[in-house]
């Protein structure tokens, strides 16, 4: 399988020293997997001992939610979780080897919205402990070797710029090279505006890599989490051999507000939620977070990978 020249040397995780050297001084220092995992425990669940579930409005004990994979103990509402926590939930303990963590987004367009993009990146980086919105690597799921990419909606709404596109592409290429099953957990607002047409081109780049994986007979399990929209849905997320979705995740191309503005009418109940997509034929299975590991494992087994 032909690889991009730079991808072949990327199989080895970077050392802390090499990371420290390359990293901008005002960004957080590189961290070990244990530290990453610790950071991942800080999910989007609001701070405080008690909290109100946004779905059933019950007052729930925060610790119980955390111990329940960040799923509401009363109504099964799936809270959004960061990439680190996703990895920790999905992979066999300690089996995840992060890769290409040194890739850093560039502000090629000198984009300024409410603040300069470069400044925004530094802020997001401090907040999440990552340089961009996806965590990639090799891992084991119930003893089965996989390559995994988990998007992080905490980092600029999981938007896809050049780094996300490049890391996803390398992950796909690694799956081709190693003949391991590919798992991508998507949660993203879509292509990242701040990298404009280059973000758009990550859609064709990742899809082209998936064409190669498909031609080689590789298995791709796409897992859709809340929210999966825009350019991510319109590229790799919808190209899984098997597409799984967490319950009630928002999944779509255009955002609900844009659609409501276009059609000037109320949107149907449950529109663009996992259940609706399954009914319309675009999602294979809706899987509760607690069953994700076992569902992925048995699909891998059925595919004989």
């Amino acid at each position: 399988m032909s690889q991009s020249p730079s991808a072949s040397s990327q199989g080895v995780p970077p050392t802390a020293a090499s990371l420290a050297q390359q990293y901008p001084p005002d960004a957080p220092a590189p961290r070990t997997l244990a530290q990453l995992t610790e950071a991942g425990k800080r999910s989007e669940v609001p701070e405080g001992l008690w909290m109100r579930c946004p779905s059933c409005e019950a007052m729930v004990y925060r610790k119980n939610i955390e111990q329940n994979l960040n799923v509401c103990t009363e109504c099964d509402h799936h809270f959004r979780i960061g990439a680190d926590e996703r990895v920790e939930q999905l992979c066999d303990p300690g089996s995840f080897e992060p890769m290409w963590e040194d890739l850093t987004p560039l502000d090629l367009l000198s984009f300024v919205d409410l603040k300069p993009y470069s400044e925004r990146l530094r802020g997001e980086s401090k907040k999440t402990g990552h340089r961009d919105a996806v965590l990639c690597g090799k891992a084991f799921v119930k003893g089965r070797g996989v390559v995994l990419a988990a998007m992080d909606s905490r980092f600029m709404m999981g938007s896809m710029g050049c780094v996300v596109g490049e890391k996803i592409t390398r992950t796909i290429e690694l799956a081709i090279e190693t003949d391991l099953p590919l798992i991508i957990v998507s949660c993203s607002g879509g292509a990242r505006m701040q990298e404009s047409t280059l973000s758009l081109m990550q859609m064709s780049k990742t899809s082209a890599a998936l064409a190669r994986l498909d031609s080689e007979g590789g298995l791709f399990i796409s897992v859709l989490a809340d929210p999966t929209t825009g350019g991510v849905t319109a590229s790799f997320a919808m190209l899984g051999d098997v597409i799984l979705a967490e319950p009630k995740a928002l999944i779509g191309f255009a955002g609900p507000r844009v659609i409501a503005n276009t059609v000037r009418q109320d949107l149907p109940e449950g529109f663009q939620r996992s259940e609706h997509l399954q009914e319309k034929g675009f999602v294979d299975r809706i899987v509760h977070r607690k069953d994700l590991r076992s569902e992925i494992s048995r699909i891998i087994d059925y595919a004989g990978k």
Binding site: T104, M193, S196, L198, R212, A234, S235, F236, L267
Partner: protein, 328 residues
């Protein structure tokens, strides 16, 4: 000096307003000379020269926001005009054989120069009725599936694909979502990357995001000089980033998005800029048409030289290298 560039277009772009007075004056003088028999050719010539100079000046420093206006100008030639102008023996093929025939996509056999090919285009519509039928050039999933079906037909009979892009974006509606807008575009991106025939694409007006890319994956991609191509429209960008819809914010977004042909060439997202006649393609559609025809003919000739496996490998490398990252 061609008369085409002084002919006043049927619509007015705000930033071209200084020209309109001159155009009116020229038309008046010409009418007088016709009816009253004065010889005022010298004055007319002078006014025309002024007009050209002013046009040059306005277009030399055209802002991204105004490029977007030119790209959307109602009188700007559309794909159907170029097809009528230089695609010989066009044989339109309709429908996706599953749901319907999306009028926002035109597809069919045709010949460009010496090349038999499959033409795929987004279609905005020429009058109000047609524009509504085409959703102003916003395709539905069945449109993207129609395009792919015809492209696979082209692959089967070894015909290269020529794609004309002019769309504000894929249609954001309830039906479009329920029929899998995202899936349809995603599948096109995947399949176009491995079609075993040459693909060339030209952004002739608006290159709106995934809706444009959905028929835009190519071996060689060009953009007209006053077309725009971006991840989102300036209006969409302004609405999200500044929660604003005023012209100043939209202009700021147009600037920030680096959506012009020059910017896209610099970023490597297109390979070539097709120059437009002075003052835009709408002032001289015939010249614009000739230039597009010439670029497509040459591009197809070059691409046909590759063995098909090399073509696909090269296409992959072209897509693969897009985007720059730091930290390596």
């Amino acid at each position: 000096m061609s008369t085409a560039s002084t002919a006043s277009p049927a619509f007015e772009l705000e930033f071209e307003r200084p020209l309109t007075a001159l155009e009116r004056q020229i038309a008046q003088l010409e009418a007088q000379s016709d009816t009253e028999g004065y010889d005022i050719s010298a004055e007319v010539r002078q006014l025309r020269a002024n007009h050209t100079a002013m046009l040059k000046k306005i277009y030399a420093s055209i802002s991204p926001a105004n490029v977007v206006k030119v790209a959307r100008a109602p009188g700007r030639p559309q794909a159907i005009d170029y097809i009528r102008s230089f695609v010989k023996d066009f044989c339109e093929l309709h429908g996706d054989r599953h749901f319907g025939d999306d009028r926002a996509i035109i597809s069919g056999f045709g010949r460009v120069g010496p090349h038999k090919c499959m033409v795929i285009a987004t279609h905005k519509g020429k009058d109000t009725r047609e524009r509504i039928a085409c959703n102003f050039g916003c395709a539905h999933p069945e449109g993207y599936r129609k395009a792919l079906l015809k492209m696979k037909l082209a692959e089967k009979f070894n015909l290269p694909i020529v794609s004309f892009i002019d769309t504000p974006g894929a249609y954001p509606g309830v039906g479009a979502e329920e029929r899998g807008q995202a899936e349809a575009i995603a599948v096109n991106l995947r399949e176009m990357s491995r079609l075993r025939v040459p693909i060339v694409s030209v952004v002739i007006g608006e290159g709106g995001s995934g809706g444009a890319l959905g028929i835009g994956v190519a071996d060689k991609a060009a953009m007209m000089q006053y077309a725009w191509y971006s991840v989102i429209s300036p209006e969409g960008c302004a609405a999200i980033l500044w929660k604003a819809a005023d012209p100043v914010s939209v202009a700021k977004a147009a600037e920030a998005l680096k959506l012009t042909a020059q910017d896209n060439l610099k970023l490597g997202t297109v390979d070539h800029i097709i120059d437009e006649p002075l003052g835009g393609a709408h002032r001289n559609p015939a010249t614009a048409s000739d230039k597009i025809e010439k670029w497509i003919t040459t591009a197809l000739r070059d691409l046909k030289r590759f063995k098909v496996d090399n073509l696909i490998a090269k296409r992959y490398q072209r897509l693969r290298k897009l985007g720059q990252v730091g930290g390596e």
